[in-house]
Symmetry: C2
Subunit: 345 residues, 2 copies
DNA sequence: ATTTTTAATGTGTACGTACACATAACATTT
DNA sequence: AAATGTTATGTGTACGTACACATTAAAAAT
């Protein structure tokens, strides 16, 4: 059903119907009501193509994400965003990336400045530098620029959507897999590899969930937990890591981040047979999963997160649909026998 | 860059450019070459909206799938297909379902007849009744109707795409999970619940993969495998099932299909603590996963399979993109701790 | 009673593409 | 030489919407 047909039905011109649809006023009360009734009656849906053609707008979305080296975690969301930008290009969606140093709030602040100067139609942001990200949300709200948060959430930020993970549940799942692998007993090491203060939030939640699972499960009395940290800012952190692994000699290790490959490296080098669970199927972890050195990876589909964030803006800006507020992605369990189907979705 | 601009550049009219783009002939060799050069030079991409508006076609896709009761496996692909039909409705994609009885080839043949009479723009088919499905593929080829296969593949069918699973690898994965759960030892039962001869192919492949994994893994010497079938066409099959479980009393059970819930029911009723692995996160299995009676479900995203099949036709027919030939979906490992994020994606 | 203002409604054009049709230029036949 | 056929090219219209602008009718001001 087109506007033309509706106009004919209501005995008015196209223009009048158009004014009613867009609530532009200058229509008498009676005709407005009559047209609204008809619109409802025929369940009028604007023609997507015609609308797109006449509007022919392009939308600039900025993505504010940490920079990365090849193979690292933040490569994944970026990939998803890029793929979405490519797929949605024909609908006028353009994405501009702003990469900041996740260990340097000043660099984040500078990039925020650049983003705001661009006056984008939407912003995708990662609250890695939490304090500054909160401030950014407030500014975006006052500037009426819609924004979307990926990875970890900011409560009451006013974003159009959050796309991420349930970190606590991720930890619980890791605990289940690792404790099953060690036969429900033995010494288990939670090993956090850190390189800045901001990254801690997710690590903490995962560790919390991990310990919570083990404490609640009454069939797991024989498990001993040791919790240790390694700080990448120390120059000798790799040796530290090696010393810990050899010294502790646990039955299972949980690394609550994508940096599990550093541990896998040591296990391979030292030929240690220790069950190992970590996060994120990034390139750096791929070979170790294939070789079975890492027993399980818990993945939160970071690529999909990025993709969905852009797609959400497409829905929000182009098709003017509602978007979901909170979207928690599945926690995929990845192991030697199924990793090959998880790449490049 | 529009056709108009290209016409201006080439010093010809819109019509000539149009004829070149669509290769309609009636253009001199020289101008054709000139226009082709310019098209390439400016990397001309037709405006999606304008094209959609003027074509304003609608495409009828028929989906030929087994009928089902609520909660059963075949509900999942249907759901995905329906969701895609809804999402792609605005692009003129319409889906008509034809449900057949998977235990009755005659009903399949009748539905095939109806499908062909409709002369659809595309067909989605499930090769459950393999022999007849192969014949259908041949007829669709001669009628030049593009078709797509989901679930399990038909080799050299001429389909535009296959979307499904790797059944052998699915079995291997199940073996890994189950053997890990039983501590790498004990008695393991492979239990196939069958209700027709056609369904066997996938079951067989999974069992094959399962046994293959266990035989190859040299650290699993202490495992004993027992393989049994239950036939749902027998009136007393439920009792048979119960007798087997109680009589065999294995340490772990692998049900290479979605019917694992029948086994879970017995385990719950008899309070048997046996590790249980099966397939497909269908509604019937949901509560048993939540309760931890089923330890692991291997899911092949049947809903996504259906969705992608329709989306593929959208890409193929509307946007005229190439589509991937074979698409193997990830084998998701689902357990008590992560099942909640796998529903309604 | 005429002009001006205001409110309501109608009309025209553009978006970029596809395709039917019209016209021009040239070659071939009578 | 005139008529017809062929090939190449140009023109017009439609798709459905959005929005600027034009027109009409009624109300208010002179």
């Amino acid at each position: 059903m087109t506007i033309k047909e509706i106009a004919k039905r209501a005995n008015v011109s196209l223009g009048t119907v158009d004014r009613v649809i867009h609530d532009r006023g200058k229509v008498s009360k009676e005709t407005k009501e009559k047209i609204l009734r008809i619109l409802k009656e025929v369940d009028y849906k604007p023609n997507f193509y015609a609308r797109g053609l006449v509007l022919n707008k392009s939308y600039v979305i900025t993505a504010l994400v940490p920079d990365f080296d090849a193979g690292e975690y933040w490569e994944m969301p970026s990939r998803g965003i890029k793929q979405a930008a490519k797929d949605l290009n024909q609908f006028g969606i353009k994405v501009v990336f702003f990469y900041f140093d996740q260990n340097d709030s000043e660099s984040f602040i500078r990039k925020v400045q650049e983003v705001l100067e661009l006056k984008p139609d939407g912003v995708i942001l990662t609250p890695v530098i939490n304090f500054e990200a909160v401030k950014l949300c407030a500014r975006l709200r006052t500037m009426a620029i819609p924004f979307s948060i990926i990875d970890s959430n900011i409560q009451n930020s006013g974003s159009i959507s959050f796309i991420g993970q349930d970190a606590i549940q991720s930890g619980r799942l890791a605990a289940k897999l690792l404790s099953t692998s060690t036969g429900g007993k033995g010494k288990i090491l939670i090993l956090s590899i850190k390189n800045n203060e901001n990254h801690n939030k997710t690590l903490q939640k995962r560790s919390e969930g991990f310990k919570d699972f083990l404490s609640q499960s009454d069939s797991l009395q024989d498990i001993k937990i040791v919790e240790l940290n390694v700080d990448q800012r120390e120059s000798n952190w790799k040796e530290c890591l090696e010393d810990i692994l050899v010294g502790q000699n646990p039955d299972g290790i949980y690394v609550p981040s994508s940096k599990v490959h550093f541990v896998a490296e040591v296990l391979m080098k030292r030929k240690l047979k220790i069950k190992l669970v970590g996060n994120d199927l990034i390139d750096n972890n791929l070979d170790f999963i294939a070789a079975g050195i890492i027993d399980y990876i818990i993945d939160q589909r970071p690529e999909t997160q990025g993709y969905l964030a852009v797609e959400n803006f497409y829905k929000y800006l182009v098709t003017k649909q509602r978007v979901e507020n909170d979207y928690y992605l599945p926690l995929d369990i990845i192991t030697k026998e199924n990793y090959m189907y998880y790449r490049s979705q």
